[in-house]
């Protein structure tokens, strides 16, 4: 509860900040609308020539694209700004302050900053999902529930991956390039992970779970995810979260020289 209140507080302070730069805000919104519209248009054009792409029809592809913007939007809403600041804290030594607070340092650092405008990207993503839905299947409560679970898992997987990657900052200090690679990988999630050749598919669903984070929720809402698949996703996500958190604490020990 306390952490939720803190999260809301972080959000509010950053919101106030972003609202101060109205022009910038408007431009960012415009940019988002343009990007989402063109990518939807691209999918529509593609499906003028074909009706199905490796088992994904137009409706499913739209849902997938919507999921992509939901996941990417989440990443850019809180993860990207927070992790960038986190690495800056390591470089400047100001991480000390977070470590001396009577609260989880991991929470205080990794969910601290927001780019509130990215909520709009998530909103647009939701619109695209809804637009694609009627073409896919009838949306029952079961699909809706698995979709929500799969999406939360997707967010968590992205978080765990970023956490693990950024932990390297404790040893190498400057790892901006690593993060840039990550964001370009995220782009691959625009398409269903099963259209990629084997090696890339494996990479996109395990080492870089972006494929999973986007594709599985899309499968869930179109009724193509069975309970076993969902179970595997949930277990995998929990494992990834704890593994990444453990790795982060390991890195932290080397930061503080606390390896007594």
């Amino acid at each position: 509860m306390r952490y939720l209140r803190l999260l809301a507080l972080f959000f509010r302070t950053e919101l106030a900040y972003e609202l101060e730069y109205r022009t910038n805000l408007a431009l960012e919104l415009l940019q988002m609308v343009v990007i989402v519209t063109t990518s939807v248009a691209a999918v529509l054009v593609l499906f003028n020539y074909t009706t199905v792409l490796n088992g994904w029809d137009l409706g499913a592809m739209l849902v997938l694209l919507g999921c992509f913007y939901l996941v990417q939007g989440f990443g850019e809403l809180v993860l990207q700004p927070s992790f960038e600041k986190f690495m800056e804290h390591v470089r400047l030594g100001t991480l000390d302050f977070a470590l001396l607070k009577p609260a989880s340092a991991q929470f205080l650092v990794t969910l601290r900053h927001f780019q509130v405008v990215q909520l709009a990207q998530m909103g647009l993503g939701a619109v695209v999902v809804i637009a694609g839905l009627p073409r896919v299947s009838t949306l029952g409560p079961a699909e809706a529930a698995t979709f929500v679970i799969a999406l939360v898992c997707g967010f968590t997987l992205i978080y765990a991956l970023l956490l693990a990657l950024s932990t390297f900052a404790f040893w190498f200090v400057r790892i901006d390039n690593l993060m840039a690679i990550y964001w370009s990988f995220l782009d691959a999630g625009r398409f269903p992970v099963d259209i990629y050749p084997g090696w890339l598919r494996v990479t996109l669903s395990s080492a870089v779970p972006i494929g999973v984070a986007v594709t599985v929720p899309a499968q869930a809402i179109s009724g193509r995810l069975d309970l076993i698949g969902l179970g595997l996703l949930v277990v995998g996500t929990i494992a990834a979260f704890f593994l990444a958190s453990w790795f982060w604490r390991l890195g932290l020990r080397s930061y503080t020289g606390a390896s007594a």
Binding site: L9, Y17, L99, L100, P102, L108, A258
Partner: protein, 333 residues
């Protein structure tokens, strides 16, 4: 151990550093086989601090001051020895401990640049779970003492260095800590801002009874705030006691300043070592034991030629400088 707020016994911290010579060949050699060397940043220090004390922690760069503060605040694990602050082992970083202490660093900021400090205060209130009424009271007091009125509503990036430090102080004290570690709190500030920060620290200590351990390069900070100082050098404790006694223990001489009508011509070298001569004002260095007798002789011998005379301890900077450059004569406790 006693019931002191800070208790440190034989605290040690050794850093292992990798060393290599310059040049490519040396770099490659070092890649294969690391040359490691241990640096004793803190080499076994023992002291205690009672509740409400303001203690100055002195030492040249690299003496181990910051390392000690980091161990006491819980950021570093010691290599050996023990420490308790408020009864807690700091490096366990228990929330109950972190709740009651603060570490302020003059060269680092915990405030978020883009947002006004008032918003950061709110976040800190939530993190430390400060109830609304005591939050208002604390912020009100800090605002008054530090004259923050307008500052807290501007984005931190728009504040000057001195203003930022004041706001930083307020941010570090939101939780009304019982122990405050201040690492170079006045570094880089202009004289008037230094004075205000000093006044604030003294007043804060008086009002709240918080225990304060402070490091500073500015002796004025220490002279203004600390009755007691702890001097460390090369990670070892050199002196722990009243500031007033530091000169007596560490410097075996006193300074006699005599001002004469015709001082420009006078030769006073028979009374002591002449260290400075400024028109009629002559500064002599005299052995501590014989200083009163020399001063009396000066008054006696010079009579009317003398317009003023004083016997003083050497400036504290000079004492410290002597200590650190290894010139010390006399014994530390």
């Amino acid at each position: 151990m006693t019931d002191a707020v800070v208790e440190v016994r034989d605290l040690r911290k050794t850093f292992r550093v990798t060393e290599r010579q310059e040049g490519l060949a040396a770099t490659l050699r070092s890649f294969v086989r690391r040359q490691r060397r241990d640096i004793n940043a803190v080499a076994g220090i023992t002291f205690g601090i009672e509740a409400g004390e303001v203690v100055g922690f002195l030492g040249p760069n690299g003496a181990g001051k910051t390392t000690t503060l980091k161990m006491l605040s819980g950021l570093l694990y010691p290599t050996g020895g023990e420490a308790r602050v408020l009864g807690f082992v700091p490096w366990r970083r228990e929330n109950a401990y972190l709740q009651q202490m603060t570490l302020l660093m003059g060269n680092r900021t915990q405030l978020v640049w883009d947002i006004p400090a008032a918003d950061s205060f709110r976040v800190l209130q939530e993190i430390y779970r400060v109830p609304e009424d005591s939050f208002r009271k604390t912020v009100g007091e800090l605002t008054e003492l530090l004259e923050l009125q307008e500052l807290v509503h501007k984005p931190v990036r728009n504040l000057s260095l001195g203003e930022r430090m004041k706001v930083e102080f307020a941010a570090g004290l939101i939780q009304s800590p019982r122990v405050a570690f201040l690492d170079e709190p006045t570094i880089g500030l202009d004289i008037s801002m230094q004075v205000r920060i000093r006044r604030f620290v003294a007043e804060y200590n008086r009002r709240t009874g918080a225990t304060i351990l402070l490091t500073s390069h500015y002796m004025d900070d220490v002279v203004a705030l600390c009755k007691r100082v702890i001097v460390i050098h090369h990670g070892q404790l050199l002196y722990d006691g009243p500031l007033a006694d530091l000169a007596e223990r560490m410097a075996p001489f006193k300074v006699i300043v005599a001002t004469l009508h015709d001082g420009a011509a006078a030769d006073l070298s028979v009374y002591g070592t002449v260290v400075a001569r400024d028109e009629g004002r002559i500064t002599l260095k005299v052995d501590r034991q014989i200083a009163p007798e020399r001063a009396a002789r000066l008054v006696n011998d010079l009579g009317d030629r003398l317009t003023d005379i004083s016997v003083e301890d050497p400036p504290i900077e000079e004492v410290i400088d002597r200590v650190f450059s290894g010139e010390r004569v006399g014994t530390a406790p």
